[in-house]
Subunit: 254 residues, 2 copies
DNA sequence: TTTTCTTTGTGTAAAATTTACGCATTGAAT
DNA sequence: ATTCAATGCGTAAATTTTACACAAAGAAAA
């Protein structure tokens, strides 16, 4: 296994990596995809290195496809982390020992635990479509509710914080939802998404009025049945209009 | 001179660099600081490499201090450029030949013209305070009006575009001016700055009302004299309140 | 010295946007 | 059939944004 890694690194940039906060929406909560490093209980964001003949954005797409099974994921670069000790620092000595047990002593020296600048991306994905898949360094990949995210390796907690801020800023200036919701959804579901991301509540009547005023949604003749209340209509985004609104920006003024 | 460069590179990251769009405001126009490469008429943004024991932000500050003579420059990271050919590509073959004449054939191979990811920063500075200073590769450093910026080396035109977009976004969500104007300024001068950055005009009465509503400006008892018209009052930012407003954000709603 | 010209200082009304809020209806569960 | 919780729809009030005009100051010109 050491062989493959070396071979990969020969074709990749060593001083730059990228990490990605993958956000999904499930049961009214924002979730983020995390990886548990082999033989340890240390968690991190998915990430990886950029190949020599590959742009940073392509690398992010490649890595995201590997971790989720999805192609053409919605990706947004949000910040580049360039502190000196961001990658070298790891608070749990115990954890490093476990990693050394798994990978062999000194294995990471000069590969992982060196000075690396990391480009931060966030991704928005449809929760149900994701097939969480661990990578070479990890043996578990799964969703975490944002509120439950543990203390992560490296500077990845800070990364999530910044990614969230960037996502919130984005949601205030662009329509959001196409990448996070299934094709058909109800207005209350969309509202819940907005409330979760922006961390506040909205009047449902005003919310509906505002969202419909953007002219990006189409109400279908179907309703969601099953709950003990009036069945809500289903909606879907009109892709062309949605894309246009993403492009031009809208100000979510609630 | 080759010696110094090699010595420097031994202490620096080679696959990452940073470039900086330095903006100043003078005679009602936005200016950007550019460097002319030795022996050529090719211009680029100021930039440089990150030392091994230095964070990206510290490196940006160091480089900016070297180019402007200012310390503690207002700096904002806005995007990281990770395309494969962004640094290798240079449209003017002629230019490369001139560089080779100046620096020696093959001098740049493996130093400059290689795969490098560059972190983009923009800086806001007080025009009159800047002492434009060329670096090791260049023999001229001067201000350019944004409208006159020529075709630049590498992907630096795109960098300026993106920096401007980021600056505009910033100006719509935060107060601006403290870093671009002298300590004391008139309301029309501040308005001109906003109009230049946001590329539109404002009603001067509404502008004054809005800016004063932010409670970040103090009107002084002095006036600017000399022009053939009613002397306008001088204002200055109240630093603590300005900083608070930058921190919390305001929406410039005109 | 007077007049002219340009630019500044100030306030109010209209328009548009945002917020607040009530009642009838639906559909599952009791 | 009744109850209960959530949805669909519309209007009035509050706030924010926009539009707009006239008097005053100061240098320059007459």
């Amino acid at each position: 296994m050491e062989h493959n890694l070396k071979e990969f690194f020969d074709k990749a940039l060593k001083e730059v990596s990228l990490d990605c906060a993958v956000f999904g929406f499930h049961e009214g909560e924002l979730k983020v995809l995390l990886l548990r490093w082999k033989g340890t209980d240390g968690w991190s964001l998915p990430g990886g290195h950029i190949l020599l003949d590959e742009s940073a954005n392509d690398a992010a797409n490649r890595i995201l496809t590997q971790r989720t099974g999805l192609s053409d994921v919605y990706l947004q670069q949000f910040y580049t982390f360039g502190n000196v000790n961001r990658y070298v620092y790891h608070p749990e000595k115990e954890l490093l020992e476990k990693l050394e047990t798994t990978f062999g002593k000194g294995f990471f020296d000069g590969i992982i635990f060196r000075r690396v600048v990391s480009i931060g991306y966030y991704a928005l994905v449809e929760f149900a479509q994701v097939q969480p898949t661990p990578d070479w360094f990890t043996d578990e990949c799964r969703w975490w509710s944002l509120a439950d995210v543990p203390h992560l390796l490296f500077d990845h907690n800070e990364m999530i914080e910044r990614a969230l801020k960037a996502l919130r800023r984005h949601a205030r200036n662009h329509p959001i939802g196409y990448n996070l919701l299934p094709e058909k959804f109800t207005m209350p579901e969309l509202q819940r998404l907005y409330e979760t991301i922006l961390d506040r509540s909205f009047d449902r009547r005003n919310f509906q009025k505002l969202l419909m005023s953007y002219d990006i949604l189409e109400r279908l003749d179907e309703k969601r049945i099953g709950a003990a209340n009036k069945s809500p209509y289903l909606y879907r985004f009109v892709k062309e209009k949605y894309d246009k609104a993403v492009e031009e920006g809208i100000s979510f003024s609630m």
